[in-house]
């Protein structure tokens, strides 16, 4: 009995000790984009081994929510799949920095008998999504895919119905390559689609493509890889057909014009090997940190993410930033003041 009691006492002491050390820990709160959530949680996990005193709490509530919360200063950092608009940045109480972390791509996935390998160019993609190209055996598609027999069937266009960074990248690309798209539809996380049916989330779009013969839509590269869906090569602005891969996304970042505030778009990037429908994701932090100790921990983490975290990206099917962009980002992180 005595032994038992002592054991309880020991247990209690340990529990108290643990909770005491837990309260000594610092929790850094973030919220935002869902697309990078898997790699961010991997980073937070790994970083706990580097600095056990910093604990991260990240809510993947969507880019819109991420921007709102960092503007309202209810989180220590925000996250967004698209750069913030001038209008939203103007609402910030201090200077907000965009810190790019990783990139991904949208791929054109489809469902045809035998699932042949297909190629598309800017004109055909815009034509299909504007509703001008309606049949699979349209001359514009067959001209790009000599040797593939395409059926005389309707193309069932599938797009995302939920607002998402994936749609932002997709419509950003279409706006750049098609003046008609730019004037009629434009760029946003959700738009007024001229044609097609909407699926909720990558899984909704992928499900509808898989279940509908003759369907064509866009999904994240990660999702297409992990679900073994066929996807098309796309002709880039340099005129070569490029397969969407992590390398061709990083190539797009290496050749794209990247301004100093890092609010960049890498769709339709120049460069022989650049995949044209790609986009980065960002962390949003204030240049002037309110809480000095928290700010210091956050800066340390951001640096670690650029130096070490980037190496883990490929394992999780994210494209890492190119070397010189990492150096530029690190310099910007140094400007964060406490």
């Amino acid at each position: 009995m005595m032994k038992f009691r002592r054991r309880i006492f020991l247990g209690l002491a340990i529990a108290l000790g643990l909770s005491a050390s837990a309260s000594a820990q610092m929790t850094i709160n973030g919220a935002g984009a869902t697309f990078p959530y898997p790699i961010y949680s991997k980073w937070f996990d790994e970083y706990a081994k580097v600095d056990p005193s910093a604990r991260f709490n990240y809510q993947s509530i969507g880019s819109g929510g991420g921007q709102k919360q960092i503007l309202a200063q209810t989180v220590d950092f925000g996250a967004s799949d698209g750069p913030m608009s001038d209008e939203n940045l103007a609402k910030a109480p201090g200077k907000l920095l965009h810190i790019p972390t990783v990139a991904g791509a949208d791929v054109v996935a489809y469902n045809l008998p035998g699932n042949p390998a297909l190629k598309f160019d800017a004109d055909t993609i815009a034509g299909i999504f504007l509703g001008n190209i309606k049949k699979w055996n349209d001359p514009k598609i067959t001209a790009l895919n000599a040797g593939v027999s395409l059926p005389d069937k309707d193309i069932v266009v599938v797009h995302r119905s939920d607002g998402s960074g994936t749609t932002y990248i997709w419509t950003d690309y279409l706006s750049k390559i098609s003046p008609e798209w730019k004037s009629k539809v434009g760029t946003n996380t959700s738009v007024n689609w001229p044609t097609g049916i909407g699926g909720k989330g990558n899984e909704g779009v992928a499900g509808q493509i898989k279940q509908t013969p003759g369907a064509l839509g866009y999904v994240e590269l990660i999702y297409a890889i992990q679900n073994k869906m066929p996807y098309a090569d796309i002709k880039n602005s340099a005129g070569s057909f490029v397969k969407p891969t992590l390398e061709s996304i990083t190539a797009a970042m290496a050749t794209a014009q990247i301004p100093d505030d890092f609010r960049f778009s890498i769709t339709n990037a120049p460069g022989e090997n650049a995949y044209p429908i790609a986009g980065a994701t960002w962390l949003l932090v204030y240049q002037q940190q309110k809480d000095a100790t928290k700010g210091k921990k956050l800066v340390e983490f951001l640096k670690w993410a650029q130096k070490e975290g980037e190496k883990m990206a490929k394992d999780l099917d994210y494209a890492p930033l190119p070397e010189d962009l990492q150096q530029r980002v690190l310099k910007r992180i140094d400007e964060i003041k406490m």
Partner: protein
């Protein structure tokens, strides 16, 4: 003086006299407690309406009546018209009720009037299990199982027979208004069935016995003595189901096709009020966009209240004078 009175009282009714005068406290407390609870619900409804109105005030001022009367939903150009969503919500709920009500009431009638005792409990448990399936699971099942099947068999069949009407014309892709209505029907079926069953069970046996005594057949007994007697309560069950149908979100979103358009054909994709909120709220970055989405919530709130009121009105007319008030 008073002592004498007590003594006198004691002499007559000893037990009663020793009791203190009955306290009204419990009665009063009970009254005020129930009253405050009832008003808390009313207050909650008012607060929800107020909050929604406040959250969407700029959008209401900017778009006014156009918001509910126009059909373009364009976040890029900041043009917001909710008509296709209102239409989609109304039509998908209507389809759901057309399918679910006959099924549910027939099931309830079978379970209370006809089914052998040993089979009742298993069927009831199965129906209740249907209610426990999460909406998102039902939606995924809709995409991967229900829609391919509907597209290959029942839809072409419907088109062969009824293709000459505008409602079943045009190409069949799978996700569409009809698929949305069917998934909602599956979701409201358990609630309408369970409530209807309880109502039919509460019909007094005297009713049935009286009808039998008059020489009625089993069908006549069920029709006249049971269903007709309970119709007010059954109507209430349908209203409960309707409430659920109007607000159903996740499963519908996954099968309805999410295209804001008003099309006569049920094979065309549609969109509902609840779906557009679920779809676009998380990534809405501009103020007006967010306001418009909150106004969609306000419209859904209004539509729900309006339809419930209309239903109450309908209930009054169809049950005028005839039905007894006891079975609710």
């Amino acid at each position: 003086m008073s002592a004498v009175t007590v003594e006198e009282a004691d002499a007559i009714h000893p037990a009663q006299a020793r009791m203190s005068p009955p306290s009204r406290f419990a009665d009063k407390a009970f009254y005020w407690l129930t009253l405050s609870m009832a008003f808390a619900v009313v207050l909650l409804v008012i607060l929800i309406g107020w909050q929604l109105g406040q959250g969407s005030w700029q959008a209401i001022q900017k778009f006014g009546f156009h918001f509910v009367a126009t059909s373009t939903w364009d976040p890029v150009a900041e043009q917001y018209g909710a008509l296709p969503f209102i239409y989609g919500t109304a039509i998908s709920s209507l389809i759901a009720l057309l399918i679910a009500v006959p099924l549910s009431i027939a099931t309830a009638a079978y379970l209370t009037e006809l089914a052998p005792l040993w089979i009742r409990q298993p069927i009831v448990s199965l129906i209740e299990m249907l209610a426990a399936i999460p909406s998102v699971i039902l939606g995924l099942w809709g995409i991967f199982v229900m829609i391919p099947w509907l597209r290959d068999y029942p839809f072409p069949f419907l088109q062969r027979i009824l293709g000459w009407t505008p409602f079943f014309s045009g190409p069949i892709y799978g996700p569409c208004m009809l698929a949305g209505g069917i998934i909602v029907a599956i979701m409201v079926l358990p609630i309408i069935t369970s409530v209807s069953r309880e109502i039919l069970r509460s019909v007094p046996d005297l009713q049935r016995e009286a009808a039998y005594a008059l020489g009625a057949t089993r069908w006549e007994v069920t029709r006249i003595a049971v269903l007709s007697y309970a119709r007010k309560g059954l109507f209430g069950a349908v209203i409960l189901g309707l409430g659920r149908a109007l607000g159903e979100t996740m499963a519908v979103t996954m099968v309805i096709g999410n295209t804001p358009q008003i099309a006569a054909s049920l094979f065309k994709p549609g969109y509902t009020l609840a779906s557009v909120i679920a779809n676009e709220f998380t990534e809405a970055t501009t103020d007006m966009y967010l306001q418009a989405l909150i106004e969609i919530g306000l419209v859904l709130f209004g539509v729900t209240i309006l339809i419930t009121l209309l239903a109450q009105l309908l209930l009054k007319t169809i049950t005028a004078g005839a039905a007894p008030d006891r079975v609710q």
